[in-house]
């Protein structure tokens, strides 16, 4: 029983991170209809920036702040330089551009920080585990929950009550109409990219504090895209719910299927779920059913 709960809790905390990164992806898609394959590399950049800040001896809050600022700058720059020229281009060009961006970012990270994996020194979160009944949880997981919960509350507030958030929702409905009401659609695009890079970067810090700061972290980006497929491209709650589903499924698979097949199933399980889910619900659990006209 304790074993099962352990896998589920690991899965939930992973799932929250997938959900967080998927949320950034969904935001960009909703506002600008661009599929951001570089989301995993945003996560990577965030984790490495945090490592540098931590290495310089900055406190926890300053580390997070540095990552958030770096993420915002990165998102804004990328939107302006790489993606604004592609507005109105066919989908393959846009997809290929974000893939190229992901590769460029990864190459840059390798050039700056090298390919050797690192750990946060000093640790971001205390090492003592938390005791919940007979279940033992690492502190990183708890802080992961807390961070994701805070971010979700912030986003709910942002989208319900702030002008920028409302502008973003309006833009996701219809670009022309949003323009008509005086919203600067292009700056909304830029904001959504900044937010995407920020949430991915924060997810990167938490994930890297659980495992280590390596180039492999960007795998999570591709997995979170699988999450988006399950949840539906347009749905923020869908991203979180599907993140949890895939996280838990992956936790259970790595616990119970791995011994049968010799390990590593968690690398592919998310994609297997996504493909099966695509065959059953082509537009995801909460996605909009697309009606096309000629």
């Amino acid at each position: 029983m304790g074993e099962l709960a352990g896998y589920v809790i690991t899965g939930i905390s992973l799932g929250f991170i997938y959900g967080l990164v998927a949320l950034g992806f969904v935001l960009v898609y909703k506002s600008s209809r661009i599929l951001n394959f570089a989301v995993g590399e945003f996560l990577l950049v965030g984790a490495y920036v945090a490592w540098t800040a931590r290495d310089a001896g900055w406190p926890l809050w300053a580390t997070f702040l540095a990552t958030i600022i770096a993420g915002a700058i990165l998102g804004l720059l990328i939107e302006r330089i790489a993606l604004r020229p592609l507005i109105g281009q066919p989908i393959l060009g846009v997809i290929m551009m974000t893939i190229a961006l992901s590769v460029i970012l990864r190459g840059t990270v390798m050039l700056i920080w090298g390919a050797i994996s690192k750990v946060y020194q000093p640790r971001l979160f205390p090492a003592e585990p938390v005791q919940l009944g007979d279940i033992v949880i690492r502190q990183e997981y708890v802080w992961g929950f807390v961070t994701v919960a805070i971010l979700l509350i912030l986003f709910t507030y942002f989208f319900r009550y702030t002008t920028a958030g409302l502008a973003m929702r309006a833009t996701s409905e219809d670009h022309q109409l949003a323009r008509g009401t005086g919203i600067r659609v292009k700056s909304v695009f830029a904001q959504s990219w900044a937010i995407c890079a920020i949430v991915a970067g924060v997810g990167g810090i938490i994930l890297a504090s659980i495992t280590s700061v390596t180039l492999d972290l960007s795998q999570v980006g591709l997995k979170s895209i699988a999450v988006v497929l399950v949840g539906g491209l347009e749905s923020i709650p869908g991203a979180i719910v599907a993140g949890l589903i895939i996280g838990i499924a992956e936790g259970l698979a790595s616990g119970y299927i791995d011994p049968l097949v010799g390990g590593g199933i968690s690398e592919v399980f998310a994609f297997a779920i996504a493909i099966v889910s695509l065959l059953i619900w082509p537009y995801g659990l909460f996605g909009l059913r697309r009606i096309e006209r000629i």
Binding site: A100, V103, G107, A115, I225, I265, F271, A272, I275, I294
Partner: protein, 349 residues
């Protein structure tokens, strides 16, 4: 546009790929120069030429699927791997000769491609890109964890192909094998896209709903495109494994799938010439980076041993990004403009 003074007087002339006497001359000169290549270049260049050969075959398949039929695939390297592993497993475990495994490589890759092409019946664009990405991960997982069948991470070795006592064991001998198969595949691809099937692919790409209304069987043609694409991949895998001599999961990485797709855009999506430009520029760019990176290694002392990997990612990614922004129609389009220019040379209006 035809060169000045060339007219189509009959249906055969209209359909001919090679039209004028000059083009015939150029074509034959090219073939002679190509097949005489081992006489005047070193083994290193022959290895590059061989790499271009099987990369081109894989990219031709991808071009038919993505460039002509409009279905995005980020899993081509894995399908190449399926072809390679089929040949390796048949050759290694059952002792089949290389020639006997060729059709099986092609067909097996084709059918595996069909399985992963099934979601294309319900989804397209981004969703399909993700399923093929999933295919890439799952197929590589199968290679890594296939036990005795795939040899796991130690891979499978194969014997070199042979005709009678003539063994294809050097770069030079392989060059002829790869070039002949590549030329056959180019010819096949070039003609395929001019047939009814090819036109159906283009219709599906341009607007699949409109194509369906016109009476094109969408599911049939989408799956056919996947099948043909993966047959090409299987042939490429067959060439690759006998060229390298063994099959490892690492030889079919995700990055290859991505680069091939990217360099199809660089070369020119939706044209056979574009695929050729793409394959050549891809292999040449990698070679250039290999030469360049030790020099740049001095600038980044901290990462000197990963400089090749890092620069490879950086430069190749930048090339693709620059092409997407500034010339989304690729080198092929520039080439067409150039041809137009010199054909009209003194009278450019």
């Amino acid at each position: 546009m035809l060169p000045a003074g060339t007219f189509n007087m009959s249906y055969e002339q209209d359909m001919a790929i090679i039209r004028t006497r000059f083009q015939w001359g150029a074509f034959i000169t090219f073939l002679i120069a190509l097949f005489a290549l081992p006489l005047y270049v070193s083994d290193h260049w022959l290895t590059l030429a061989n790499t271009i050969g099987y990369t081109l075959v894989a990219m031709l398949g991808l071009n038919i699927l993505t460039g002509y039929c409009g279905q995005i695939s980020i899993g081509q390297a894995a399908f190449v791997g399926v072809g390679a592993y089929t040949a390796a497993a048949l050759g290694h475990h059952l002792g089949w000769s290389a020639w006997a495994t060729l059709p099986f490589s092609a067909i097996t890759a084709g059918f595996i491609g069909l399985i992963f092409g099934l979601p294309a019946l319900r989804v397209k664009g981004f969703y399909l890109a993700m399923t093929t990405l999933g295919a890439q991960f799952m197929i590589l997982y199968a290679f890594n964890h296939g036990g005795k069948l795939t040899g796991g991470i130690t891979g499978l070795g194969v014997d070199r192909p042979a005709i009678g006592g003539f063994v294809f064991d050097s770069e030079e001998k392989f060059f002829y094998l790869i070039m002949i198969i590549t030329i056959v595949m180019v010819f096949f691809a070039k003609n395929l896209v001019r047939t009814r099937t090819g036109r159906a692919f283009v219709a599906v790409r341009d607007n699949d709903l409109a194509a369906e209304v016109l009476g094109i069987n969408l599911s049939y043609y989408k799956l056919l495109a996947f099948f043909i694409c993966c047959v090409f991949a299987g042939v490429a895998g067959w060439l690759k494994i006998y060229h390298i001599g063994s099959a490892f999961p690492d030889h079919y990485p995700l990055m290859d799938s991505i680069w091939w797709l990217g360099f199809l855009i660089v070369g020119g999506l939706g044209s056979i010439t574009g695929a050729i430009f793409g394959a050549v520029s891809y292999v040449m760019l990698l070679e250039w980076i290999t030469i360049l990176s030790p020099m740049l290694g001095n600038w980044f002392p901290g990462v000197s041993h990963q400089i090749f990997a890092a620069l490879g990612l950086l430069i190749t990614g930048l090339v693709i990004a620059v092409f997407i922004v500034f010339e989304p129609r690729g080198i092929h389009h520039r080439w067409e403009l150039f041809k137009l220019y010199y054909r009209l040379l003194p009278f450019s209006y």
